[in-house]
């Protein structure tokens, strides 16, 4: 077996989600080649080369790949795929955008959002917002998978260094063009990989109260801030903070849900957290069914006390 793993990175750093995908690839077994596609990516390639389990790093460094346009990335991956038994990417917005396009070019069905590797061709993935787990087996000659990062630890650097090779580019398909991007920058840890997350729900009442109650606690705990879809829709928090089926799926060490009712689509995004703590005014809130520790309290009274005490 041999695995082609598509790397994802921002500015100068390989994303933790890619490291998790490498761990999943190691569980499948066989040689792992990491593909780095971008412009001025030699430092990314060097980072990938040091990770335990990586045999080769393939680099396509070209201005045409400055932004991850699926229309241009997919033919490049398609050309390489024939030599591999598996093509893998993280189930991030990048991987989910790219890999189905590659699958169709290769005329294969793929398996998305893999949470567990059973054997090289059998995997577990969630259905119905995580209410069900499905075990699927693929007999495709080339198996395409996206890996949900929360199910796998991040692969770390070893003592070896993999070989780095340049590969030919496949050019601009002239179907799409990057215009601009707005990326949220924050002093806080990234939501997807934070070890502690403090999430606010709609019962916080307003954007001002959301900030006034959630931010001090998140600062004290060096936590990322999350929000429910209801809180995002109500304008209390930006969409990038959304945790759930349609937002980010997280699995931190500690997840603190403040005024979160516990809608199924929210639970789908956080139920794999190691420790779940919920504070809610409503003793019947669904979130308590999923919590290790629950506290029924007036949020506006309890939160300032907790933030001050820590």
């Amino acid at each position: 077996m041999s695995i082609l793993l598509i790397a994802e990175f921002d500015q100068n750093t390989l994303k933790p989600a890619t490291r998790s995908a490498i761990t999943a690839a190691s569980q499948i077994g066989g040689d792992i080649d990491v593909l780095v596609v971008g412009q001025h990516v030699s430092s990314i390639a060097q980072q990938a080369a040091k990770i335990t389990g990586v045999k080769r790093v393939l680099v396509a460094d070209d201005a045409v790949y400055a932004k991850p346009l699926a229309e241009n990335f997919a033919p490049l991956v398609q050309n390489l795929a024939a030599k591999y038994s598996h093509v893998i990417a993280a189930a991030s917005s990048f991987g989910k955008n790219l890999l189905p396009r590659v699958a169709a070019l290769l005329d294969v069905d793929m398996v998305s959002e893999v949470t567990k590797i059973i054997d090289p061709s059998t995997y577990v993935r969630p259905l119905y917002a995580g209410n069900l787990n499905s075990t699927v087996k693929t007999d495709e000659a080339i198996k395409l998978l996206t890996i949900r990062p929360t199910g796998f630890a991040a692969a770390q650097e070893g003592t070896h260094s993999a070989t780095v090779e340049s590969i030919a580019t496949t050019g601009d398909k002239s179907l799409s063009r990057f215009v601009n991007e707005q990326i949220q920058t924050s002093e806080r840890p990234e939501l997807a990989t934070a070890s502690i997350i403090v999430t606010g729900g709609r019962s916080l009442g307003s954007a001002e109260k959301f900030d006034a109650l959630i931010s001090p606690l998140a600062t004290k705990l060096n936590a990322a801030i999350g929000a429910t879809r209801a809180a995002v829709d109500a304008g209390f928090a930006p969409n990038e903070w959304q945790v759930g089926q349609t937002g980010t799926v997280v699995a931190p060490d500690i997840y603190i849900a403040i005024g979160v009712s516990g809608a199924a689509q929210h639970i789908a995004g956080m139920k794999e957290s190691r420790l779940i703590i919920a504070i809610n005014q409503d003793p019947d809130a669904q979130i308590f069914q999923w919590s290790d520790y629950g506290l029924v309290a007036d949020l506006f009274d309890a939160l300032p006390k907790i933030s001050t005490a820590l």
């Binding site: 955008n97 169709a104 179907l175 520790y293």
Partner: protein, 248 residues
């Protein structure tokens, strides 16, 4: 400009789905069914393009059993002009669904194809990207905004950590995210009107599509329940737990 919208009939998002006792799949025999929420946003966007004078016709298509007519009628009531049911009792994987939609796209020659970013049953989020690849056209996935001008579509996409805007040549495939729009409430007269709009049925077997898949479901099960938690007696207990667990 003609707009084609792909939709799917799924278990209503308020239903808590359970596994069949034999593990062969989800037990949905008696569940309430609805249009996939993301697809509803796709239909709404197409109808708005027509109301803005940009689209000339909105055609909705689904692949499913005869009872999938209900979600097509729903889309017609939202304002689509006509509907196509590709009828089959088979459960298609994403690639086969994309191939069916490619055949319909060849017949209809739309300038824009809209579809939900994922269906809330299998949560795969694959069909739109696969369709774009099969048609060799651009894709704007997880779209929260789109603008059409000069033969191109400008699409703002929800990506990890923020958003980005791409410009795609037309035709293109756009997959709708929830923030693309707020679907309208259907008024009774429109529901009546929808019953009179054309709905064409095409047998899947009449299309030249290979629907076999090499991906098979072996087992479907409910995840293990979380152990019962502990209710705390006051803020002080919670502070103590945070001190111990978060080491602050």
């Amino acid at each position: 400009m003609k707009v084609l919208v792909g939709i799917k009939r799924v278990v209503d998002h308020n239903v808590r789905v359970r596994a069949k006792a034999d593990g062969s799949g989800a037990d949905i025999a008696s569940a309430k069914m609805s249009i996939n929420p993301f697809d509803e946003h796709a239909v709404e966007e197409a109808v708005r393009l027509k109301e803005a004078g940009i689209a000339t016709e909105v055609v909705v298509v689904t692949v499913g059993a005869a009872n999938a007519q209900d979600v097509l009628r729903h889309a017609l009531a939202l304002g689509a002009d006509r509907a196509i049911l590709v009828e089959t009792t088979e459960h298609l994987q994403s690639l086969a669904t994309a191939k069916v939609l490619r055949e319909i796209s060849k017949r209809e020659a739309p300038q824009l194809i809209l579809i939900g970013k994922q269906a809330i049953d299998d949560d795969a989020a694959e069909v739109g990207q696969m369709l774009a690849a099969l048609l060799n056209i651009g894709q704007g996935t997880f779209a929260s905004k789109l603008t059409i001008a000069d033969g191109k579509v400008s699409v703002t996409r929800e990506i990890d950590g923020g958003q980005e805007t791409l410009e795609l040549n037309l035709p293109a495939v756009i997959t709708a995210d929830l923030r693309l729009n707020d679907p309208r409430y259907i008024k009774l007269p429109n529901l009546m009107l929808a019953k009179k709009k054309p709905l064409e049925t095409i047998a899947l077997t009449d299309l030249d599509v290979n629907t076999t898949s090499k991906v098979a479901t072996i087992n479907v099960a409910e995840p293990p329940a979380r152990a019962a938690g502990k209710m705390l007696n006051g803020v002080e207990e919670l502070i103590e737990i945070l001190r111990t667990q978060a080491k602050v």
